[in-house]
């Protein structure tokens, strides 16, 4: 916790002044009590004045499911994060579209993460995990975020796009700047940097698209899938739609799994009895992976915009209002999840969490994410008795990405 930061006292601040859009709550890992109060005292909360404009917060599990499932009333257009994207880069992506356009574009790329394909990817992922883990220093302090989490997920992403492997660090960079602007999520990326980076991303992928066009064979990378589907075969001619969807797939396949790969190490260190359970029974890994994804909630929220006036849980929501579903709050809702504040690797029903969202926009890469994390932990447990956290984590300043830029660790065999 940065001691210089003065955050309002969560228990005494008047309800109507609670502003959960403040990115410092997440940077300082201070968000829990604010949401606890909202869930208990004002579960559908109106904030009339925030740096992102007025917005509603939906904080309980069941209410989030209800909003997420009602795409007729709660639109994903124009965008799914708290801040508006602005018109300098009017990127369009299917996560921020309603049916029918959403359905058509999502269907084009969905096969890449169908579990049938994942079975083929499993051995590749395992060999990469093994390579990463076998090259880590034992007994020396290093940053787990850079050397494991980013390394693993960026390699995977390069494979999904069939992106030049030696340039894959660019994918991480584009992912970080895409959602990192102050007016979008409260981050620190300047408008100039973001613009330059995303234009580089667009140019790079446009070049790859044209090089790949007409290539023989039935490649299953995301670019080839978009080219093969008649509904998206000319997407490159609509640059903002092309950029938006590429950006979506980069962020979706990168930030999320990366931060769960780090969050799991932290959670096990904060809960040594759970780490002991895992050592005693590595068969708990699949359930633990779901629990890590719940505990971390790599994306804190998704935003909708009301298409009509609607009364919701006694509150009058007006057409055009921003409605923010706080997934990280839903995942701590004890009325839906027993002992929701605790990290328990052998929960009875670990898949019942909200991190992937619900409804038609539910995460399409969820099984790939679970598989990567499962393999990471299977191979880690074979090699190391203890991945010890030896310093404080540094968290990302964002109200959207629940991430880490650093987690110092030491390995013990």
């Amino acid at each position: 916790m940065n001691k210089a930061v003065q955050l309002p006292d969560p228990w005494s601040i008047p309800l109507d002044q609670i502003d959960v859009s403040d990115p410092r709550l997440y940077e300082n890992d201070a968000w829990r009590p604010y949401f606890e109060r909202l869930r208990n005292e004002d579960p559908v909360h109106y904030n009339p004045d925030s740096p992102f404009g007025p917005f509603w917060s939906v904080t309980r599990f069941d209410d989030i499911v209800a909003v997420d499932s009602n795409h007729q009333v709660f639109s994903s257009e124009p965008t799914i994060v708290l801040g508006d994207l602005g018109d300098k880069i009017p990127a369009e992506m299917f996560i921020a579209m309603d049916p029918p356009k959403h359905d058509v574009q999502r269907r084009a790329v969905q096969p890449v993460v169908a579990p049938k394909n994942l079975a083929d990817m499993e051995s590749l992922i395992r060999s990469r995990v093994v390579d990463i883990l076998d090259n880590l220093p034992v007994g020396e302090t290093f940053n787990w975020v850079d050397d494991v989490s980013i390394n693993l997920t960026t390699q995977m992403l390069a494979t999904l796009f069939d992106f030049p492997f030696e340039d894959r660090h660019k994918l991480t960079y584009w992912s970080d700047i895409a959602a990192g602007a102050p007016e979008i999520t409260g981050g620190d990326v300047s408008e100039e940097e973001r613009y330059a980076g995303l234009m580089d991303c667009l140019q790079t992928f446009t070049r790859i698209w044209h090089e790949r066009k007409g290539r023989e064979g039935n490649s299953f990378d995301l670019i080839s899938l978009l080219q093969r589907d008649p509904n998206t075969a000319d997407m490159v001619d609509r640059p903002m739609e092309f950029l938006g969807n590429i950006g979506l797939l980069i962020v979706g396949g990168n930030d999320t799994t990366r931060n769960s790969a780090t969050g799991g190490v932290l959670a096990l260190n904060q809960n040594p009895a759970e780490y002991d359970k895992l050592r005693a029974n590595p068969g708990l890994i699949p359930g633990m992976v779901s629990e890590i994804i719940r505990w971390q909630t790599p994306l804190a929220h998704m935003r909708r915009t009301a298409k009509q006036d609607i009364e919701f849980r006694g509150k009058q929501i007006r057409k055009g209002d921003k409605v923010v579903m706080w997934y990280l709050s839903g995942n701590r809702d004890s009325s839906a999840i027993e002992n929701a504040d605790q990290f328990i690797i052998d929960r009875a029903n670990p898949r019942h969490h909200i991190s992937f969202g619900f409804g038609i926009h539910r995460c399409m890469g969820n099984r790939l994410a679970e598989m990567q994390l499962r393999i990471l932990w299977e191979e880690t447990m074979k090699r190391f008795r203890f991945v010890e956290v030896v310093g404080a984590p540094v968290r990302v300043k964002s109200n959207f990405v629940m991430g880490y830029s650093s987690l110092p660790v030491k390995l013990h065999r």
């Binding site: 499911v65 898949r351 619900f358 969820n366």
Partner: protein, 106 residues
């Protein structure tokens, strides 16, 4: 209690004595039938209780509503007879129902 047979993708079949009024999803879970994940717990919101109803039983099982249709539309392996098991309340008329499970849930 109607007897319902669920057939995993690998061909292994499970005949259960189903409880009328409960959903097909809940009946499958209560009887430990593998192949139904039910991530959302039965809210028609995740698509992980996807199943296929055999031809002659489709009229008995009925048709899904618009939301179920939207969720099924996201499935690459969607086909005729696709339903979400959480949206099928078991009735006495379902004695003998045959349900096939997909290769995977996602």
């Amino acid at each position: 209690m109607p007897k319902i047979t669920l057939i995993e993708f690998n061909g292994r079949d499970h005949t259960i004595e189903a409880e009328v009024g409960k959903s097909l999803m809940q009946n499958a879970l209560d009887n430990g039938v593998p192949g139904i994940d039910a991530d959302c717990g039965g809210a028609c919101a995740c698509g992980t209780c996807h199943c296929f109803i055999d031809g002659e039983w489709r009229a008995v099982a009925g048709e899904g509503d618009a939301m179920e249709e939207a969720m099924l539309g996201m499935r690459p392996d969607r086909s005729e007879g696709s339903r979400l098991a959480c949206q099928i309340p078991v009735s006495a008329a379902m004695d003998g129902l045959v349900v096939r499970l997909p290769e995977y849930q996602m």
